[in-house]
Symmetry: C2
Subunit: 339 residues, 2 copies
Amino acid sequence: MPDKPTTIKEIAKILKISVSTVSRALHDHSSIGLTTKMRVKKLAAELNYEPNQRAIQFLHGKSFVIGVILPELSESFFSTAISGIEDIAYKRNYTVLLAQSHDDAEREKLLVAKMKSQGVDGLLVSVAKTTSTYEHFEVFKKLNIPIVFFDRIPPIKDIHYVSSNLKTGTFEAVNFLLKKGHRTIGMINGPGTLVATHERKEGYIRAMTANRLKFDPSLIVSCDLSEDGTIKAMDTLLNHKRKPTAVVTFNDYVALFAMRYAKSIALTNLDFVSYANLPIINYMDHTPIASVEQFPYKQGKKAADILIDLINKPKNESGSEQAYFNIVVESELVLSNRK
Amino acid sequence: MPDKPTTIKEIAKILKISVSTVSRALHDHSSIGLTTKMRVKKLAAELNYEPNQRAIQFLHGKSFVIGVILPELSESFFSTAISGIEDIAYKRNYTVLLAQSHDDAEREKLLVAKMKSQGVDGLLVSVAKTTSTYEHFEVFKKLNIPIVFFDRIPPIKDIHYVSSNLKTGTFEAVNFLLKKGHRTIGMINGPGTLVATHERKEGYIRAMTANRLKFDPSLIVSCDLSEDGTIKAMDTLLNHKRKPTAVVTFNDYVALFAMRYAKSIALTNLDFVSYANLPIINYMDHTPIASVEQFPYKQGKKAADILIDLINKPKNESGSEQAYFNIVVESELVLSNRK
DNA sequence: AAAAGATGTGCAAACGTTTGCGCGAAATTA
DNA sequence: TAATTTCGCGCAAACGTTTGCACATCTTTT
């Protein structure tokens, strides 16, 4: 018995009144008599009437759905972020249409098109690594559908975005190590192609200069983030004429590799600081003594909030130039909570 | 200039033909002349015409959207699963409407209602821990919208579900330890309220009896999964008159706590087997020598596939009883890949 | 030359809801 | 009592698309 859902029409027919009256009654419109309202509402409740959202969305071209395109849902950073996004969406009565690009530019393009045809009210995107052209996002602009970029920001003008700044966290991290008495601090950095690599480096330099110390570029070695690469980087650092007493690693994986390696060669007096991307690191035997936290949950919330604000913003306030949100969520040093 | 999207009407007007002709031309309907088709398609392309999905969905009451309600998006198991779900949805041209219940029965109820009003074609649910009534799912049944339950299955009849069976994996795990020469195997199990706890126990017992060994219930201790609880459980096991030489732990966190504790009391000759829920465990210093894998990605894919099959199934084949999919994805023992 | 078929196109209804406008009846005012 | 206002409700259009049906023109068959 595939019960077709009750419609406003049926209510009207049963009560022998017009559909418009029913509609207005259900919306407590002032021009409908009290008795009529009661009758309509009572019957609607009995028949389990629920407005057909598809019809409503179609009517005013609004869906209360935001699209979210992320590179990898299984990556901890993104899955934490989507949790924040969904929480805000839920709170503000929106729903989340989710898709992952798997860092494939082609798939991303298709997804953007799909999101558009699904009629999302706004789009939240963390762009794929392989994405190098950005016209597929332009379409949204033309249709006046807001996009907020998130974490991975395309290098184009006039966009809204939320991202984290690793400079401050790295600054704090190096500063923390200096305060702790370290004078020679190594850094295992990532490939030069990543923005994140440069931000780390800058934070490092700033901390040194802020403490009136000379910056030695050879104490920063880049690394392909593999285990072997990490070991090579560690060797470079350990053979440095000024052997570091502390190391800042690009991420938790690199930290793990490095710590394991240090242990394997019976090196114990080395402090590590890393970047928090693994929820588990605090549970482990050897943990970095501190972590630079990027707050993906918070970032996700922020991005979703901005997007929904944009959706509900009065259209094109005449005269005033479009203002772009460029929110930077500062990263922060968090000390390890292990005793 | 908020370019309103091109509609079929405008094309018709410009070409001075009727909307129906345009529609048919775009669909390559056989009754439309070749020249007309060409003209229509050419203009449509020029105007970047794209059919308004909302209108189409409204017309046929189909949305090509599946709803997914999970307890926690940031939990590794679920975020891996959603990745699989999305991959299948993408492949089969569906989109995923995502929400998390945070294990709150009330929020789950609201989400189910929201999914319904959003007009999803099907629903995929892993029920919240606190959910104890199940009427909110009945509505979908009445409307003939399929639901597939996933991992956390409600205790009701006549439902489709995909879940994993930990019996087989646990059997393999214990069997593996026995083959390795262990004769006294402890198990740190979870609270008795969880199905998963019983499945683990059963797998354990089966392995013992399959090897014609006596099962000693006191070698299975339950635990609240906290660090303190784990340590207590470990103490119980280590003080057992038959001190275990290997331990199966309820999950990776418990494994970590237990291994850390063992190490802290200088206990080294203990083998651990755990259940894979943390992607990182293989990178660590001390890892379990093997893990029972539940394949959340695969489970997600399977569940999505079944759901979409159900959506596209010819309605109510008359006479034949409704068949329910009860898919059990067997768990498997995976040896640690660390040398 | 008339009937039949094929071909190309348009009309209009349908999907469920909202909303501006108008109209009759009752209630108020002058 | 007549003029005006208020109240309660219905009509119909609109959103964009698909589709059954009918109609006209042209081509073929008898």
